[in-house]
Amino acid sequence: MIRNVGKLLDKRKVKKADIRQPDQDSKPEDPLDASFSRNVETFRSIYDKCSDVMFRSFLLFGKTQAMIIYIEGLSDIGGMEENVLSTLMQEKTVASQPLHEFLEHKLPVSKMKRVKTIAECIESISAGNPLLLYDGEGDGFSLGLSKWEKRAIEEPVAEGGIRGSREGFIESLVVNTAQLRRIIKSPALKIQSMKLGDYTKTTVAIAYIDGLVDMSLITEITERLQRIKMDGILESGYIEEMIEDNPYSPFPQIMSTERPDVASSSLLEGRAIILVEGTPFTLIAPISFFSLLQSQEDYYQRYMVGTVIRWLRYVFMVLSLLLPSLYVAILTFHAEAVPTALLLSMAASREAVPFPAIVEALIMEITFEALREAGVRLPKQIGSAVSIVGALVIGQASVQAGLVSAPMVIVVAITGISSFMMPRYIAGIAIRMLRFPMMLLAGTLGLLGVMMGVIAIAIHLCNLRSFGVPYLSPLAPMKSRELKDVLWRAPWWMMDSRPRLTGEANLYRESPEQGPKPNRGSEEQ
């Protein structure tokens, strides 16, 4: 049997040849034909059985054949009629200059691009920019008249807050980059984009601030992005999984946010942002473990409040990982480790419970996870019903029926709440997942098992990197200068240095000695 396992592992190692057949239709690099009718023929065959693609032919100067190709719903039909069709169809005098110059001068469209290959034409049409083809010169124009329905900018649902901007990213990449640019107006904010996905051709943009970021990071991100060869990118999660440093870790090595202010602050710290068309979740890289425990509001509130809340979060993170396993371990192996009075009352409440503590804990934790998952998926109205049923079933009925002890319910409730205290949802899930192996270890080996689990997790975390940045930095390796944003949230007038992520570019982010004092403003310096 062991030999077979070995064989299986060996088979996996053989590298598969890339036998995938990418989208053939959109490959042609051929230039447009000189003949208008042949071009039209080509596009009609490309867009065969595409009922949403519109072909509108008309005559220029009453004699030259021309055609507009666009996708219904992606283009501004009003603008097209008003600015393109009416202008061109009313033109009667034959122009003396070459046709493309005439069109450039005549058309009141701000974004116009001359296209020469079929691939460019298809890209333009797919992006919603109507394609203007005309007879004679073997080229066409991509008219920047794309317009489609999009969601309004709303408050981010997954990352709410009391204080701070209420704007969130939306599904449209252009709007998202515009939001970034509105916050960071310097031209040093660079946004490079590329298209990923054979069929979806999703636009993916890397944003960074020139001079703050280590350029080798941008090179690395670009390279990793270009390695992605797949059918489609529907969400930034696809990209996240394809470019992580360690794909076998439960911990996220790239953070996602839907808040422009969080993205901007990361940019200012010298990180890079990856924006993906079609999702409000943008990626931030590189990150450290502690980034997952920081919320934007830590920086907007007074620093003392920020520090206290941050420590509360640290404590509850540990609780959400360890509380059920500690409870199980102490109850089954180390009864002498609890104060007598507490042990007696726990013994009293467990008296009627038919299960061992570990089984009881697993039942409750799994039920809680199920309820949480059900609550997330369901519409709001039913969601509240689920929570009522959950609270009644878990909280009361099971205790009254004697299936579960009351302290266990308290433990599960505290654990549940503490796992929601993580400001990054994804990090909370990682911790919640690890809770189950920890509970099994506690149920079999007691505190010894819990310690083994904690050590294993610590080793793993020390081993992890996010784009070359050690995951536990600045704690391990220790960088005392950066602890100001981990052990406490230093007041803004002391946050003088930027975190050192992959390089040492532009270390300081504010002038020194800005601590406010009375009368400071009126005094001459």
Binding site: G6, F333, A335, T340, A347, A348, R350, G402, G446
Partner: protein
């Protein structure tokens, strides 16, 4: 050459995979092989809250344990909080006899359906009969066994220890808790298993343990509702009980051991009508041994501060002169108590204060020579008691309460 090397690497890889998978499988078995089997749920534990060890007339050892009954304070799966029945006992006492403690225990285990768990037993009571014949043999079990705590308190009961366990105190959950709480008040001696072991192996080889008995139930209380309380001290020579000390003498012993915490000294100042009560708030006791010309002497220096808690005289204690009177009376009283205790100890020849250790530390050579003669030396030793006392606080009021201004004496 290169090809061959490549082949070797592949074979090595295969081997490495095999070994990794073997290690993984072995690791997987760890949880199933070890922990599960000695896992004990709380439901399967008989939590011992107190234990007593008695000697029967036929020389056998009787072990009694007070076991907590979880059902008694549980909601039993029903509604409402802990419903503690008025008459319902929270503990049950089981006992069995054996030729020694461990045999008694193994027999006793046969009568209790759950595994006896010593981890929370904080009270061990030795019956008077056993104490008089020696406790060392049974102590060995308690210190050797991994579960009983070294910080558990040890007592000697007047009469049989089992009676202490059987009482059903109305205020606390079980009688073990009552004695433990009383010990925590520092009104009597507080000796743990660890202390006991230290005293037995120490230089003086004398032990003092708190002596407890049942306070008979008051009128209207049920028969078993009497509670155990500490009423004195049992004195041991080596591991055998030789005598007792009264409550009053115990106080002096507490002074000598620097363990005075909360008790009230009530004094009658000389030549003045009425009583003053004082609570010592801090005390520092130094025991200085010295040998002068072959004479073994010890000087006890006590530095104590007190607070007035009741003033029944007409003295105005804010006046330094009157305060001096009170302080001097306080000082005399403490000195008297200490002397009384020392007298008793010396008469008995029980060095429970640990003077032997003090001498050994300061004069190791002389002590080693005189060690065999220590008891005689102790009995004949000259003791100086030197008490300094101050009254620092007087509570909320200064002058005696409810006394017209002119009647207050300033003297």
């Amino acid at each position: 050459m290169i090809k061959e090397r490549g082949r070797v690497t592949v074979r090595e890889k295969v081997n490495r995979h095999k070994s990794i998978s073997i290690i993984l499988l072995l690791l997987l078995t760890i949880p199933f092989m070890s922990g599960c089997w000695d896992r004990v749920e709380i439901n399967d534990l008989a939590i011992v809250t107190a234990a007593s060890i008695d000697k029967k007339d036929d020389g056998s050892i009787e072990l009694s344990i007070q076991v907590f009954i979880p059902k008694s304070i549980s909601s039993g799966g029903g509604e409402g909080g802990p419903s503690q029945g008025a008459g319902g006992a929270t503990t049950l006492v089981k006992s069995d006899v054996g030729s020694n403690l461990s045999e008694a225990l193994s027999k006793l285990q046969g009568k209790v359906p759950r595994k006896v768990f010593w981890g929370h037993c904080k009270v061990f009571v030795f019956g008077e009969g056993l104490a008089k014949e020696g406790i060392q043999e049974q102590l060995d079990f308690l210190l050797r066994h991994p579960q009983p705590r070294e910080r558990a308190n040890v007592y000697v009961s007047k009469g049989k220890g089992k009676a202490i366990l059987e009482s059903l105190p109305p205020l606390e959950n079980y009688s073990g808790e009552v004695i433990k709480e009383l010990s925590d008040l520092h009104l009597g001696l507080r000796v743990t298993l660890h202390n006991l072991d230290e005293m037995l192996t120490g230089n003086s080889q004398a032990v003092a343990l708190p002596f407890i008995k049942i306070l008979p139930p008051a009128k209207g209380e049920a028969k078993l509702q009497g509670i155990p309380y500490i009423f004195g001290t049992a004195l041991f020579e080596r591991d055998k009980m030789t005598g007792t000390m009264t409550e009053k003498e115990t106080r002096g012993l507490l002074w000598l051991k620097d363990d005075m915490e909360s008790y009230t000294v009530t004094l009658k100042p000389e030549g003045i009508e009425g009583l003053i009560s004082i609570n010592p708030i801090s005390s520092r006791v130094r025991i200085i041994p010295y040998i002068v010309n072959g004479n073994w002497r010890v000087s006890v220096k006590v530095d104590t501060e007190g607070t007035v808690i009741q003033n029944g005289t007409k003295l105005n204690l804010t006046v330094p002169k009157s305060l001096k009177i009170a302080e001097r009376t306080y000082q005399k009283d403490v000195e008297k108590r200490i002397r009384l205790t020392l007298l008793h100890l010396q008469g008995n020849g029980d060095d429970v204060i640990g003077l032997a250790k003090e001498f050994y530390r300061k004069y190791p050579k002389q002590f080693s020579e005189a060690e065999n003669d220590w008891e005689r030396i102790f009995e004949e030793m000259e003791v100086e008691v030197d008490v300094t006392s101050h009254i620092r606080r007087q509570g909320y009021i200064n002058k005696p309460a409810g006394l017209p201004e002119k009647e207050v004496k300033d003297r």
